[in-house]
């Protein structure tokens, strides 16, 4: 069974890693866009917030009959996990950039930075630790939620949990739960350390 645990752990990490990467790739640019168009901000953050409240098992279930992005298996799980990862990344990007001292923004403009330079050289670097905090939250949530992906045949450590529940066998449940908890703690510590390094002094 230990070989199977390793396989599913790797699969679990891939599920979470890929979905967080997608959530970041969507969430950061979208968050930047929202800081430029504050009127859209409430609507988009509201929608992302509502998606977040859908119970995870229900979201996986809802996605099964959906064409293209749905069905049974890994792809559907990635979509669901991305949806959950989006809100923390998005919200922290908006908060992080909005939190940049307006005096610094004006200093950057006064020195002749273009909008793009202001974003890349000042706003994003100064917001980096806050954005990373969002990615960290999304990752930790994602590691937990990904255990449910097994319910729709997407594999991951949830395989052992569902099997253990069905067999009423705590050892099997723990074979999934313990590595998942370990991953969550590890990811939290690792990303926390990166976040501290990025924090502006």
């Amino acid at each position: 069974m230990s070989a199977e645990i390793l396989t599913e752990t790797i699969h679990h990490v891939v599920l979470v890693g890929v979905s967080i990467a997608i959530a970041t790739a969507i969430g950061v640019p979208l968050g930047v866009f929202l800081t430029r168009r504050p009127a859209w901000s409430r609507l988009v953050l509201g929608v992302a917030g509502v998606l977040q409240t859908i119970p995870s098992l229900a979201l996986f279930g809802f996605l099964i009959p959906v064409p293209v992005i749905g069905g049974i298996g890994t792809r559907t799980a990635l979509v669901a996990l991305t949806v959950y990862g989006l809100l923390p990344v998005l919200r922290n990007t908006v908060t992080g950039i909005a939190g940049v001292d307006p005096a610094l923004r004006e200093a950057a403009r006064g020195m002749g930075m273009t909008d793009r330079q202001l974003l890349l050289r000042v706003e994003l670097p100064l917001a980096a630790s806050v954005i990373l905090a969002g990615i960290r939250v999304a990752t930790v949530i994602g590691i937990g939620v990904a255990t449910i992906a097994a319910a729709i045949g997407a594999g991951g450590l949830g395989v052992f949990i569902f099997r253990g529940v069905a067999m009423v066998d705590n050892r099997t449940i723990l074979a999934g739960a313990l590595p998942a908890a370990g991953l969550a703690v590890g990811a939290d510590l690792l990303l926390g350390a990166v976040e501290r390094r990025l924090r502006p002094r």
Partner: protein, 251 residues
């Protein structure tokens, strides 16, 4: 107006410049004055007098709603704002240094934006830090939070001078410093100006500072120019607002 000493060609001209907000509030009203090349002019006034507004009209951070402001003969409306700002050194209170960039990178920022080769930027950073008394080997790699207030302000001046702009704008640059450091920096600024002879506009609320750093002083109140002249001519003025600034400075 008390005095209109003209030393050279006007480099910055306010021509009936005014700024009204959409709400109808007037921040600056019908300001006309010229800053000749090489002169240091101080805008002095209370909070809300329009002095910072006037300064921001020069580098097009704000555009006038009435009249115009000309830099090197060209209206700020027709200047490419990015070009104008890179040719204008801008010094503000200590918040202006980027906390995530080292001192060296802060100083080299405008040359870097201008696309100077890295070696030339590095050399320039060394020269500038030397100029303001912060030797590069010791200070270039530090971060702003590792410096004292006075050192940060020196870095701010070095940064503003780095791309060798003909024009300097200083918005209460020494406002957050203790009186001793402040006097020291005022003296250093005077010394630098004697050598570099940049056209400079210096915003302050302190008459003593204005008298120390500037050739001429423009006193603003309620968004309007009340008096313009040297410290000596202003001191002789009977205008109560002008007088109150000298009294405040004497205490």
């Amino acid at each position: 107006m008390l005095d209109a000493r003209v030393a050279g060609e006007p480099f910055v001209e306010f021509d009936g410049a005014g700024l009204r907000l959409p709400t109808g509030k007037t921040l600056l009203h019908d300001l006309s004055l010229a800053v000749p090349e090489g002169e240091t002019l101080a805008f002095i006034g209370r909070s809300g007098s329009g002095k910072t507004t006037a300064l921001k009209l020069v580098n097009a951070l704000l555009l006038p709603t009435d009249g115009e402001v000309r830099v090197a003969g060209q209206s700020t409306r027709t200047w490419d704002a990015i070009r104008l700002r890179r040719r204008t050194g801008w010094v503000i209170q200590e918040v202006g240094l980027f906390p995530h960039l080292s001192v060296g990178r802060n100083v080299g920022l405008v040359p870097e934006l201008e696309g100077w080769p890295a070696a030339r930027v590095g050399k320039r950073v060394e020269e500038m830090l030397e100029l303001v008394g912060l030797p590069a080997p010791e200070y270039a790699a530090r971060y702003p939070h590792q410096l004292s207030g006075g050192q940060r302000q020196r870095v701010g001046v070095a940064r503003a001078l780095a791309a060798d702009p003909p024009l300097l704008l200083l918005d209460e640059p020494f406002g957050a410093l203790d009186p001793i450091t402040r006097a020291e920096l005022q003296r250093e600024f005077r010394g630098l100006q004697a050598r570099l002879k940049k056209t400079a506009i210096f915003v302050t609320h302190d008459m003593r500072e204005a008298a120390r750093v500037a050739d001429r002083i423009a006193l603003l109140a309620g968004g309007a120019l009340i008096a313009l002249g040297t410290a000596a001519t202003l001191r002789a003025s009977r205008d109560p607002e002008v007088h109150s600034f000298f009294e405040a400075g004497d205490t």
